[in-house]
Amino acid sequence: VGAIAAATSQVTEVPTDAASTAAVYQEHYARLVRLAFLMIGSQTAAEELVQDAFVKLQQRWRTVRDPAGYVTATVANGARSHLRRRRVEARWLGAERAAREGRDEASQPGPDPVWDTLGRLPRKQRVALVLRYHADQPDEEIAATLGVRPATVRSLIHRGLATLREETRDED
């Protein structure tokens, strides 16, 4: 009986993945939702992405070395998938929706031309720009997240900035 009791107590002493994930969650949730929002422009979808990222983190807790980095990368890649799906959807439903609502949403600029232009950039450029200029990540880290070479990241950022410069020139 004593041996069984000892074994049981050993089992309960193992720290749970949930408790550790919860700590990371408390610390980074709000920051990640803001980051995801900047990448995809929808808060509801941003919260979904971030929650999914934490769910993944908990499932892989034992193999993840840098939890904060892992969730950030997961959110960035989730944002890219989201943007890809949304573009496919827009291509299919855009014409129909525009006809129904009698206007083209994209042709109505919002108050901030930089934000508007950011929303029209290719998704990799947008994600790279947000990681660089909001999360202040170095090229190497962005490259690892996007699965490309650092030189490609520099090129993505360069092209993104060039488009921003071009599109917002009139307002200066």
Binding site: T21, A22, L38, A46, V114, Y133
Partner: protein, 241 residues
């Protein structure tokens, strides 16, 4: 102002506008637990045409997307009617069989009483999904049993073995058992709606009680299945991108 600084400023302003209240961790964790349970359930039935066991599974869209749905012939929706597997000699048996009395050496078998009769196949786009509806006539046995899941290899026509030509990058195979379209289905056996998700449907078999259709999708997408009565129909909703 430099473009970089304008961008930095815009990002900060936009981020500051986001009002975030983290939901309790337990709620998010609940999502994790549910999703892993679904995964385990999916593994349990995947790849098995378990028509003889299990109740009807009707679930919402699942991000896993490779789930397979199986029901016995005459599923939940037809519970009030004697189903093909229990008609015949066994139909009079009580719900809880008594201990067997070993009184006979005669063979035991339960012949099917008939077939579900397909009358129409419809496909249309709805908000967020494409819907495929297999409708069955009142002259048959109502709803057939079915097994619905993504194809795990090339498709071949039932009986002939000829390869199936189907548009799309992946296919959902809809296998209906004790079902036929013979004499009741007069529509085309290949339908090409070209919807956001569903590119083409084709009948790949109507042979020896197995009625099989394949749905060609643009890309793998989550789907959900409902079996409805009055009129009897199997409804497959496939999420659109």
């Amino acid at each position: 102002m430099r473009t970089e600084d304008r961008l930095r400023q815009t990002l900060n302003e936009q981020a500051a506008d986001v009002d975030v209240t983290p939901p309790p961790w337990a709620v998010v964790r609940g999502r994790a637990r549910r999703s892993s349970m679904r995964r385990r359930a999916a593994v349990g039935v995947a790849g098995v045409l378990a028509l003889a066991v299990g109740g009807m599974t009707v679930a919402g869209f699942n991000s896993g997307a490779t789930r397979r749905v199986t029901t016995p012939p005459g599923g939940e929706a037809t519970a009030s009617r004697p189903s093909p597997t229990t008609s015949g000699p066994a139909a009079s048996a009580p719900a809880t069989p008594p201990a067997p009395s070993f009184g006979s050496t005669a063979p035991a078998s339960v012949p099917p009483s008939g077939h579900a009769q397909l009358t129409s196949v419809d496909v249309a786009h709805h908000d967020g999904f494409d819907r495929v509806v297999f409708r069955f006539g009142s002259t048959g046995t109502g709803l057939p049993g079915y097994s619905i899941g993504f194809a795990r290899g090339p498709l071949y026509h039932d009986a002939s073995g000829a390869p199936v030509a189907l548009e799309g990058s992946v296919a959902i195979v809809v296998k209906m058992v004790y079902a036929t379209g013979g004499g009741t289905y007069h529509g085309p056996t290949t339908i090409t709606p070209g919807l956001p998700s569903v590119l083409q449907l084709t009948q790949t078999g109507d042979f020896e009680g197995y009625l099989i259709w394949a749905i060609g999708l643009r890309a793998q997408a989550p789907f959900r299945v409902s079996a409805l009565g009055g009129p009897d129909r199997i409804v497959i909703d496939i999420a659109t991108p």
